[in-house]
């Protein structure tokens, strides 16, 4: 932890970055994002197992971006997000630093996309064993059961769009749900509108979601949104052998065609 704080002090004092986005004390045992802009504040930084939020979400918030060059305390999903955002032309190389604390508290500083890529290939990017287990339980359900499962969950959706705000890849300046000419998704939080919204959200993340899980954590009514995303992640991986967030320049599963793509579903 001291390592991290020192690193932040050093970077800010040398004006190498203008802001360090990291984790600080939240309510109870939780951790929340802090935006450290001077060496004096660096003591607020914390790092432990409770630090789970994907701070890369702030890369796409104009009010944070405005602060200047950013150093980002990064967990594995954060690094994948950075690469995914780079591949979607949203951030440029050298625009940010990633600070990766390891279990012992030592911090690795990654200054380029290339360095991040080299780091990411070494981490485990697959779904965890627990996630796979949960997904399997979902997959054994029949179609009708799945429909009921989601209808039940979505009936509680408030259309608060917290999932969207928490997702680092939901950065569009005008979300489809806000299009009203035509009005693709009905505004009220009724069953049809909720279903359409949630399906659209998931589909727009197909081949892009880097599996940080923040959508589910943000949802105030506990909808297991991550299940939809993880299902798509595993489909994209099995059919196209593609995983998002692995490289700063990447072919996206949903937008590229390769002559050797599996086409067994087109008849």
């Amino acid at each position: 932890m001291e390592d991290l704080r020192n690193k932040a002090r050093e970077l800010l004092a040398a004006k190498a970055v203008q802001v360090v986005v990291g984790y600080g004390r939240g309510t109870g045992a939780s951790r929340r994002a802090v935006f450290i802009q001077s060496a004096a504040e660096a003591g607020e930084l914390l790092f432990d197992n409770a630090c789970r939020q994907n701070l890369a979400v702030y890369l796409m918030k104009p009010e944070v971006r405005k602060l200047g060059k950013m150093a980002l305390v990064a967990i594995p999903a954060t690094l994948r997000t950075i690469l995914q955002l780079a591949s979607e032309n949203q951030i440029q190389d050298l625009e940010l630093l990633a600070l990766v604390p390891d279990a012992s508290g030592a911090v690795t500083q990654l200054a380029t996309f290339a360095a991040i890529e080299a780091h990411v290939v070494l981490q485990d990017n697959d779904l965890s064993a627990a996630e796979k287990g949960e997904l399997q339980k979902y997959e054994i359900m029949g179609m009708e059961q799945r429909r009921q499962f989601w209808e039940e969950h979505f009936s509680r959706c408030l259309k608060c769009y917290a999932c969207r705000a928490a997702c680092p890849l939901c950065y569009c300046s005008r979300c489809t749900v806000e299009c009203n000419q035509p009005q693709w998704i009905p505004v009220p939080a009724h069953d049809l509108g909720n279903l359409e919204w949630n399906i659209m959200r998931a589909m727009h993340l197909a081949g892009r979601c880097i599996n940080c899980g923040d959508c589910s954590r943000a949802c105030p009514v506990g909808i297991p949104l991550h299940l939809l995303n993880q299902k798509l992640i595993s489909e994209v991986y099995t059919h196209f052998n593609s995983r998002s967030g692995m490289a700063a320049k990447a072919d996206h599963a949903m937008s590229t065609f390769k002559p050797n793509d599996a086409e067994d579903f087109i008849r």
Partner: protein, 671 residues
């Protein structure tokens, strides 16, 4: 407020026999926004069009729906009529109540209902149509012809003679293609070289034609009228300007035992060679794979002998860039080789040969100087079996199509054999004889009746060697499938015509489509046989399907005419039904977030980057931009864009959504 005019057509009785057109027109008049609704016997007739023009002027219409046939049929007609009355043509839509309704249903209430539903959706759409202007793009008046076979030669000459520049690219050291390998040609038996060589020379001398032989297309970008190509001129190891074509090097080269491609493997050539004496250009090329110097570092005999010091051992491939307005693909075909027929011993027995090899045996310039001598021992074969459909029309071999030329050249081969070996016995094994074409049936009859070629309707099950003879086994299906065996000295397989080995890679470079057998796909099998689906790229010759010389030449002239039509204008006018990226008021500028996931999805490479800058030149945003010259309006990007920032003009989200809603929300405004 919209003022839509609805014009319901009877199409004689084509529509009115099953649809109650009066009811449809009457119900349409009650749709909100419809200011005028009538029916008429023939809307496309002059009085019909006049009705539309008058209504536009008198009722001040803001949009028109013609409920009639398919827009494929008459959309241009009605759009023109609207334009004549001062209404932007893109404010006119057609409701197809013929192909989509009256022709496919019985007369009934429901049919009339459906016709009205179709009209209603189009009214909902046309209310949201916007006036559009045609798109203009410039045209570079230089054509690229790929492949210098007879098709490429003909296309090049025709385009050049119409006054335009041509760049002809041939991958082999000489132009001429398969025709240069043929002996005599059906159905007239004139000598192939004699009719081909003058055209090859004409190509070489034409002031409008630049020939790049031993070259291949490296890459191509751009769009109709505005292609950019890179051509790889492979190293000939020779300075073409200095070389006089004297041929001394060819005579003196010590490594002479290389199988000749031109003689289909039946003859030999040196490492520095000209494929055949009449080659154009008549300049040798060093085959680096077999050249002693490149193999061992020693020799350079040709360099010493060359009187003009033209040999360049260190020459490298050269890349030539050019701007092109249109492309004619004439890369031809090939025939099936190799171990495709283990049951026929092709590749195993020296005396089982293919059609091209027979052409070389029969050719006066071939390895036997035109005498039919079999490859194994140089003897004149007394019995020759010709096998038609070797591989063609054989789903088990993966080739279900007819190669079209084999029936004819097999008859020719049998005839040529008989003309040269008077006492010889030619047999032809065939499935059916397909001799459609001027003088073709007569030609085959002549082979049978005058030259005594014996035709046996049978497939060949096996060919094997027995006592120095090739035993051909079959079953005569005209004699109750009686099994039969012929002992032959030579067997000629008319192996299936197939696509060139590199056809698929070239198609990807050109972005043209191909069929399951890698033959290039025409835009329409009947009405657009020389166009591809990519605007500005045309097809000629056997690269589209196996075909004979007259057909290849006709298609080549057709393609050339298409190029000349394209080049007859300095600007191209295109329908503006293309994709556009939206623009919004600041601070959004555009709802496009510049993720550029659409870019790789576009099959036509039409999506570019556009920078939005403020008045000081500061970059505000980078967004996608659709190149109007390239976009074909396919809509792939539209489906992909998460923020719905791309719309197809004329088929916008708003329009299509309104159509769907109109169908779903069937209100009280019914028939």
């Amino acid at each position: 407020m919209a003022r839509i005019g609805v014009f319901v057509c009877h199409c004689g009785e084509n529509i009115s026999a099953t649809v109650d057109v009066k009811k449809v027109a009457e119900a349409a008049s009650r749709i909100p926004g419809v200011a005028h609704s009538v029916e008429y016997k023939y809307m496309c007739s002059d009085p019909g069009q006049q009705m539309i023009r008058n209504a536009i002027r008198e009722k001040n219409l803001t949009g028109v729906v013609v409920a009639a046939c398919s827009p494929r049929m008459h959309e241009p007609t009605f759009r023109r009529a609207c334009a004549e009355a001062g209404l932007n043509p893109f404010l006119c839509e057609m409701a197809n109540i013929r192909e989509h309704c009256s022709w496919v249903h019985e007369k009934s209430e429901a049919t009339t209902h459906k016709a009205f539903d179709i009209v209603r959706t189009l009214v909902a759409k046309v209310k949201r149509n916007k006036a559009l202007l045609p798109i203009k793009v410039p045209v570079t008046k230089t054509a690229l012809v790929l492949g210098g076979g007879i098709a490429g030669i003909q296309a090049s000459l025709d385009i050049a003679n119409s006054g335009h520049k041509v760049i002809l690219v041939e991958k082999e050291p000489s132009i001429g293609g398969h025709m240069s390998q043929l002996s005599e040609t059906f159905p007239t038996l004139d000598c192939s070289q004699c009719i081909l060589t003058p055209r090859m020379v004409e190509v070489a001398q034409h002031p409008n034609i630049t020939l790049h032989s031993y070259s291949e297309l490296e890459s191509m970008d751009g769009f109709i009228g505005n292609f950019k190509v890179r051509i790889r001129k492979k190293a000939r190891s020779l300075d073409e300007k200095l070389c006089t074509g004297c041929g001394l090097c060819v005579q003196k080269c010590p490594s002479k035992k290389i199988s000749s491609e031109f003689d289909a493997g039946l003859g030999l050539r040196p490492a520095i060679y000209v494929p055949f004496p009449q080659a154009v250009p008549n300049k040798p090329v060093i085959d680096r794979e077999h050249c002693t110097y490149y193999r061992t570092g020693k020799c350079r005999l040709c360099e010493k002998i060359c009187p003009t010091q033209a040999i360049r051992f260190d020459q490298e491939d050269e890349i030539i860039e050019a701007d092109i307005g249109a492309v004619v693909v004439a890369t031809g075909f090939d025939i099936k080789h190799g171990d495709f027929f283990p049951e026929y011993g092709y590749g195993k027995y020296k005396d089982v040969i293919d059609g091209l090899q027979f052409e070389r045996l029969a050719s006066a310039s071939g390895p036997t100087l035109g005498e039919i001598r079999r490859p194994s021992d140089g003897q004149v074969p007394q019995t020759v079996v010709f096998v038609a459909c070797a591989g063609s029309r054989d789903p088990a071999k993966g080739i279900e199509y007819c190669s079209k030329i084999c029936c004819m050249y097999t008859a020719k081969h049998a005839m040529l054999y008989k003309h040269k070996v008077h006492h010889g016995k030619p047999f032809v094994f065939y499935m059916d004889i397909r001799a459609g074409g001027k003088m073709y049936e007569e030609f085959v009859r002549r082979a049978m009746e005058e030259d005594g070629v014996q035709y046996i309707r049978s497939r060949v099950s096996r060919i094997y060697e027995r006592g120095g003879k090739l035993v051909v086994k079959g079953a005569d299906t005209l004699l109750g499938s009686r099994p039969l065996e012929i002992e032959a000295d030579l067997v000629v397989l008319a192996t299936a015509g197939v696509a060139q080995a590199g056809a698929e890679q070239l198609a990807q470079r050109l972005h043209v489509s191909f069929d399951a057998h890698k033959f290039y796909a025409e835009a329409h099998p009947k009405l657009r046989p020389v166009e591809t689906n990519t605007a500005g790229i045309f097809l000629a010759g056997a690269c589209q399907a196996p075909k004979d010389i007259p057909e290849s030449v006709a298609q080549a002239s057709g393609a050339a005419a298409k190029v000349a039509i394209l080049f007859s204008q300095s600007e191209l006018v295109r329908e503006p039904l293309i994709a556009v990226v939206d623009r919004q008021a600041p601070p959004l500028y555009s709802s496009c977030v510049g993720c550029f996931l659409c870019q790789p999805s576009c099959p036509y490479q039409a999506i570019e980057k556009e920078e939005i800058r403020d008045r000081d030149g500061q970059l505000i945003k980078t967004i996608a931009k659709v190149n109007p010259g390239l976009c074909q309006g396919c809509g792939t990007c539209v489906a992909l864009c998460r923020t719905k920032s791309i719309d197809i003009q004329g088929f916008s989200h708003e329009q299509v959504y309104a159509e769907v809603l109109a169908l779903l929300n069937r209100g009280e405004d019914n028939v």
